[in-house]
C-alpha cells in the first residue's frame, strides 16, 4: 500500500510543472554557485600564497627582540561550500614581545557587491533555494488534493491516513533529491577540475559526506514542514500564504533576527573597546613598574657611590659595574611580577569579554535554533571551517603562534630596562647563549581549523534538533491529518 502511494506521489510530482522548474533551477544555480565559489577560493588562495611568500622573503629573517612576527591564516578549502564568516575573519596574527598577540584584517575588499548581496555558495543554495523548493513541492499536497476531491476518493478506500502522509513525505523527498543529487554531482565535477582542490582526497571526503548527510536531513525536515503546512490549511491559496509565512520566518526571520534580539537583550561592548582597555591596562602597569625599576636602579647606584643620572648604557667604572650587577639580580623579581600582572590584567579583561560574548552568542544561537535553517547553517559552516566557532579558533591559533614565536625569538633575547625617562632611556638588549640570529627565522603559523570530529561533537545539538524537527513536523502533520476534514 505504501509503495503504491509513494509511486503515485513520485509520478504526480514528476508530471507537475513545479518539478521541472525546480530541476532547471537546481541544475543552473548549484553548479554555477560552486564554479563561482571555486574561482573565489582560488583567488583567495593565490592572494594568501603571494602575501605569505613575500613576507617570508622580505621579513622572514627579521628575528630582533621587538619583531612583530606575522602568521597567516590560509583560506579554508571548504569555504567553497559555505563562505560563512570567512570574509570577516582576521587574515593574520601579529605577535609582540609584550606577550600580546593581535589579529589583523586587510580592509581591501576586491568585490564589495558580492558581499553586499551575499555569495551564492552551496549553503546559500541549500538554505534558500532547496528549502524553498521543498516547500513549493509540498505546501498543498494535502490541501490541494482535498480541493480537487482526490483525497476523498483515496480515503474512501481502506487506506490508513498515516500511510498517505508518509507516502507524501517519502515520495516528494525522493523526487526532490533527484535534481539535487544530479546538480550536486555536476558541481563536484566542476570542483574537481581545479588543481588546488582535492575533492576525492580521503581528508576531504569525510567532511563532504558529513555535509551531504546533514543537507539530506535538512531537506527531509523542510519536506516534512511543507506537508505539515499542507495539513494546516484546507485550500491551495491558504497554503501559499502559509508557505510564504513559514519560509520567510524559517529562512530569513528567525536566523537574521536572533542575533539582533540577543544584542538588544544582552548588549556588550565591542572588541575594539576591550583591546583598548587591555592596552591601557598594560601601559599603566608598565609605567608603574618602570618607576619601580628606576627607583631600584637609583638605590643600587647610591649604594655603590655613583650617580644614576650619569650612567650611560654601558657601565665603565667598578662602582657602576657593581651597581649594574646588583640591579640585574634584583630586577628579575620586578620583571617577573610586571609580566604576571600584565598577563593577569589582560587575561581578566579577555575572560570577562569572552564570558559576556559567549552569553550573547549562546542566546543568539539558541534563539535561532527554532529554525532548521539555522541548525543546518551552523553544522555546514562549522564543517567548512567558516562557522561561529572559528573566531575563537583563530584566537587559539594566534595565542599558540605567539608562544611559538616567544620560544623561537623573544625568549632568546634578554631585555633589561634601567631607565625609561629623561634624558635618555637606558635599555640593554642581549642575546641568550646559543642563539644564532643569523640562522634563526620567523616561525610559520601552522593554522588548524576545527576538525570534523570536534564540529560534530559540539554540533550534536544541531544534529539532534534536525532529527527532532523531522519527528516534530511529521507528528504535527499526523495529528492534524488524522482530524483533517476531507469533505
Amino acid at each position: 500500500m505504501l509503495g503504491t502511494l509513494v509511486k503515485k506521489e513520485i509520478t504526480e510530482t514528476i508530471l507537475d510543472m513545479r518539478f521541472w522548474i525546480v530541476t532547471v533551477l537546481f541544475l543552473v544555480l548549484i553548479p554555477l554557485g560552486m564554479y563561482v565559489s571555486r574561482k573565489d577560493y582560488e583567488r583567495r588562495l593565490a592572494n594568501y600564497q603571494q602575501e605569505h611568500q613575500m613576507y617570508r622573503e622580505h621579513y622572514g629573517k627579521d628575528v630582533g627582540p621587538f619583531v612583530e612576527a606575522q602568521g597567516f591564516r590560509p583560506p579554508p578549502l571548504l569555504s567553497i561550500f559555505a563562505l560563512g564568516l570567512d570574509p570577516f575573519m582576521p587574515d593574520k596574527a601579529i605577535t609582540s614581545s609584550s606577550g600580546l598577540v593581535r589579529a589583523a584584517k586587510e580592509p581591501g575588499i576586491d568585490n564589495p557587491e558580492s558581499l553586499l548581496f551575499g555569495k551564492a555558495d552551496y549553503l546559500f543554495n541549500v538554505s534558500f533555494i532547496v528549502s524553498l523548493a521543498a516547500l513549493i513541492f509540498t505546501f498543498n499536497r494535502i490541501s490541494g488534493e482535498r480541493e480537487r476531491g482526490t483525497l476523498r476518493l483515496i480515503i474512501s478506500g481502506s487506506v490508513r491516513r498515516g500511510e498517505i502522509l508518509l507516502a507524501k513525505i517519502v515520495g516528494n523527498y525522493i523526487v526532490l533529491l533527484v535534481p539535487f543529487v544530479i546538480a550536486l554531482l555536476a558541481a563536484l565535477i566542476i570542483l574537481n577540475t581545479s588543481a588546488d582542490i582535492p575533492v576525492w582526497s580521503s581528508t576531504l571526503w569525510g567532511t563532504l559526506v558529513a555535509i551531504i548527510l546533514i543537507t539530506l536531513l535538512f531537506i527531509l525536515a523542510m519536506v516534512s514542514l511543507g506537508i505539515c503546512v499542507s495539513t494546516l490549511t484546507h485550500g491551495s491559496m491558504a497554503s501559499i500564504m502559509m508557505l510564504f509565512l513559514v519560509w520567510v520566518m524559517a529562512v530569513l526571520g528567525i536566523p537574521k533576527m536572533s542575533p539582533m534580539i540577543a544584542e538588544a537583550v544582552y548588549p556588550i561592548e565591542s572588541r575594539n573597546v576591550v583591546d583598548l582597555a587591555a592596552r591601557i591596562a598594560r601601559e599603566d602597569i608598565e609605567v608603574e613598574f618602570n618607576k619601580k625599576r628606576e627607583e631600584l636602579f637609583e638605590k643600587c647606584c647610591t649604594e655603590f657611590g655613583t650617580t644614576w643620572e650619569d650612567i650611560a648604557v654601558e657601565p665603565r667604572t667598578d662602582a657602576e659595574k657593581q651597581a649594574y650587577a646588583k640591579y640585574d639580580r634584583e630586577v628579575l623579581a620586578l620583571d617577573s611580577e610586571c609580566q604576571k600582572r600584565v598577563a593577569n590584567a589582560i587575561r581578566k579583561l579577555e575572560q570577562d569579554y569572552r564570558n559576556r560574548r559567549n552569553v550573547q552568542a549562546s542566546l543568539a544561537v539558541n534563539l535561532s535554533r527554532i529554525s532548521p535553517v539555522s541548525c543546518c547553517t551552523y553544522l555546514v559552516s562549522g564543517l567548512c571551517g567558516t562557522g561561529p566557532a572559528e573566531p575563537d579558533r583563530f584566537i587559539r591559533n594566534a595565542e599558540r603562534y605567539q608562544e611559538q614565536v616567544k620560544a623561537a625569538i623573544y625568549d632568546n633575547w634578554v631585555v633589561k630596562i634601567y631607565r625609561m625617562g629623561e634624558p635618555l632611556p637606558n635599555i640593554r638588549v642581549q642575546q641568550t647563549e646559543g642563539f644564532d640570529q643569523s640562522k634563526a627565522s620567523i616561525p610559520e603559523m601552522k593554522y588548524e581549523y576545527t576538525p570534523i570530529a570536534e564540529v560534530l561533537r559540539t554540533g550534536w545539538v544541531d544534529i539532534l534538533l534536525l532529527f527532532t524537527f523531522n519527528v516534530l513536523f511529521f507528528a504535527v502533520a499526523f495529528w492534524r491529518f488524522n482530524k483533517y476534514d476531507v469533505r
Binding site: L15, L153, S156, S158
Partner: protein, 240 residues
Amino acid sequence: MIELKELTKRYEDGVLALDHVSYTVQPGEIFCLLGANGAGKTTTINILLDFIPPTSGSAFINGHDCNRFPLQAKKYVSYVSENVQLYGMFTARQNLAFFAELAGKKGLKKKDYDNVMRTVGLPERALKMRLKHFSKGMRQKLGIAIALLKDPPAILMDEPTSGLDPTSAQEFLDQLRKLRERGKAILITTHDIFRAKMIADRVGIMKQGRLVAIRKREDFKHADLEAIYMHEMEAAEAVA
C-alpha cells in the same frame, strides 16, 4: 449489506444533520435517498466512509462498524462522488491502476483494463488519454470503472448524475442496472427524482435529518414519484 441503526449526527454548530435514521440496503438493491439540500443525504455517506464520526447510532458495511473499524468496513465499499475528480495529469490507465492497487488488485493486465472500459462504455483508446482531457461524463464513467475494478459488495454514490447530459445520464443508469444484476448493494443520494424513479428499488425521503418515508418500487412504479415526494415533505412539515 449497508445498514444504518439510529444514526444521528449533530455538528459542532448545533445543526442536527441526521436524526435517528435507520434503514438497510440489501445486496442487489438500489436505494435512492431523496431530499432537499441539507436534508442529511451526504452526511450519511460521509459517516459511512468515516469522513466524519456519528454523534450516536451506528453504520455498518458488510457487518463492519464504519466508525469503530473503518478500514475493515471500507474494504467492502466503493465510492462515486458527485463530480469524480481523479488525477488530471495521469492517464485513465494510471488512475485505474492506482486505485485498483489501493484496493489490493495488483498486477492487472491490459485486457482487464480494456474489459472494464468496455463495461462502462468508454473507448479503449481513452486508457491512454490524460484525465484533464476527459469530459464530466467520461470521468463519471471512469469513477464507476474504478468501483468495478475494486469489485466490492457495496457502492455509495453521491449525486452521481448531477451535471451529466441526458445521454450520459442514461448510459450511467445502464451501468447501475448491470451493477445491481451483479448483486451490489447501491446507495445513491440524489435530487433527480426522474432518474430515481427509473432506477431505484426503494427510495428514502429525507427532510432536515429525518428519514420521513421509505417507498418501494411498486409504490411509485406507476405513480408520480415527485407527487409522492412532495406529499411526504408536506406531511413531515405538518408533523413538525
